[in-house]
Amino acid sequence: MDYATLLQILDSTLRLATPLLLACLAGLYSERSGIFDIGLEGKMLMAAMASGAVAFLTGSVWLGLLAGIGASLVLAGIHGIASITFRGNQLIAGVALNFLSSGITVLIAQRLFAQGGRTPPLTGGARFNPITLPFVEEARGIPIIGPLYAEVISGHSILVYAALALVPISWWVLYRTRFGLRLRAVGENPAAVDTAGVSVVGLRFVAVAITGILCGLAGAYMATALQAGFGREMTAGRGYIALAALIFAKWRPVAALWACLLFGFFQALALRPDVVQSVLQVKVPVPVLDALPYVLTVIVLAGFIGKAIPPRAGGQPYVKER
């Protein structure tokens, strides 16, 4: 494999890791607050449809993005009402929302565009277009690093850079702010937060809302940047891979970046079975690459590579005790 091919693969790794990363960070906020969310997939899908549809109808990708975030927030709100207000089963709520959005996205897209549940292709200002970073041409001459900068780092849409920026931001929020301290506390021991005079319900709703916003970004990226429009089931299990990445990263933001890049790398490799074969000298079936993120996550869950300990109060509705 030559350097150019490697750069191509790394480039698509970054492209494919972005929705995983956004969804993974989304899940991080919710789960750190003690609300398990297996509905990342549904929120992404809903956001993809809403952003694709609105971007097409208005011609503005930014309005599309807002619509995507809005749609995802609606689902997040339902998740919050079910699991925080009514103390329902968080996992079942997530499953329900995934089905709901799987169906309803097609219904709405079909009603609006009658193209078999897809939006028409997006063009021009209805998409997030690649941004060329400064000094690309000047840097290209530098060996190794130059092409890396030009081919891999530069030339992505704004959402890719936003996702990358969200990693240090999330770390800072989580570990350096009052909100982060409370968020981590409420996922570990809500009674401690409650007796300290801080609203458990309020904190958790804020966390779930952040999850909604970030899933909105992830979905919008799918429909308006990674691809040119919405297609049925276009998230194709990415919400679950993001969940896997979150566990793999043990609910930490920086580790989440590495986990998503790794899983994105597998996805990029799955697109280039020829390269895999030439490097490993054996034919690796594509399904093996598809399954790798899940297998790795199971291994981590089983505690063979460190122990993934979820937030202690995760999954349990908070009931005040005497």
Partner: protein, 531 residues
Amino acid sequence: MTATTANLGTGGRQATAAPFAIELKGISKAFGAVQANKDINIAMPRGTIHGIIGENGAGKSTLMSILYGFYKADAGQILINGTVTPIPDSQSAIRAGIGMVFQHFKLVQNFTVLENVVLGAEDGPLLNRSLTTARKLLTELAREYELDVDPDALIEDLSVGHQQRVEILKALYRQADILILDEPTGVLTPDEADHLFRILKGLKDQGKTVILITHKLHEIMDATDNVSVMRRGTMVGTVKTSETSPEALAELMVGRKVLLEVEKRPAKPGALILSVENLSVKDEHRVERLKGVSFEIRAGEILGIAGVAGNGQSELLAALGGIAKATGKMVMNGIELPLRGAGANGQARRAAGIAHVPEDRQHLGLIMDFSAWENVAFGYHNAPEYQKNGLFMDNDALRADARAKIERFDVRPADCWLPAKSFSGGNQQKIVVAREIEQDPELLLIGQPTRGVDIGAIEFIHKQIIALRDQGRAILLVSVELDEIMSLSDRIAVMFDGKIMGFRDPAKTNERELGLMMAGMAATESQKGAA
């Protein structure tokens, strides 16, 4: 004795017309048909330690929950420093200067001390400043009140006593003037408890008001300036501690002379049933909780294990009952039973003739969602009399059996279809006791037999235990109620810090001696005495 509050002392400080730090007027609170608090009136002068004493279920905790904004009172007023202060939530309580140290600490286990202290009382949206201020304040508080804790230690690495200090620090960091402590010594070693009371005295001297909720009379006598007694939801009296006696308080608390002397004939110990050697148990953090305990129990005798909660008694029961892994040796009727691995489980223990009434009936002894008749088979579901056709359980036989036991043990309501959770604590306990005693075990392990049980049921359960002994069975009784241990046991072993401090004959010992042993102090003395 008077129930008025006007003439209360102020702990040595001059405060003629100063308003009370906290004053409750006509507080009432009902949960459904249960009146938890009825027209409660108290006034606590500033700079005093005020004890609130009462039995389980007397309404102490409800009252404190109202003070801390967990419950809203149905009627009544709370006055802080003379002004009416509604407390709809914890936030308002904190703002009013009330700090609370719960029985079960409200700490985030994987946070540092510092993080726990600032949580909810941060200086602003960024953490660093809060942490710096808190660190400074913590050093000052540590100096002032003997409250030293490493600010950077994780809570999960701290001892229980230190965790409690963190709770006090939390309250002080929030500038609490009124500090409520709910049963603070239940989980403490005697040393830690002494230290706690020194801290509380220090706080009092600085003008803070401390409310101490407890059911231990000696703590009230030692530490408080005034004491209020609660009984079945009402405040039956408030007095100066210096003007009362433990006997008078006990009488107020219970309302009538308690019949603690259980009628029983002298024991006739027979054959050796259980012998335990060097039994040790580690908890999930690999900390040794039971440290090489050895004893024997004979047929027809009750061995009572006295001790403050958390000194290894629960682990002892769990190890003998086959719930926890242990090391050492356990011999039952001459046969050694495995303490870990495949053969160490509740089924094997039952097969060996050991019945077990666990300390925690709601989490161990019963399936709360199962009906009474299903619970009557719990643990004995493999018994041949409950099976039919080799394949199925004989539910008719189960129900007939349950009805018989319900009748014999006077479980109310006498409805075997009701789920266990619908019965009162006493009746739940009767179901468990009926199930275990009616197995006619060779050895009965029984933990806290009367915890949360009403007076009538207590007497009944005590009689059943004695009757089983008189049938020549061996009984291991674990209880934190010293009265219960003293009146039921034929021999008493006192546990402290995972070890047995010594054995005593109930006829030849007294509460004072046992209390000292439970505090871990008499160990060397008694060993000297033995030598």
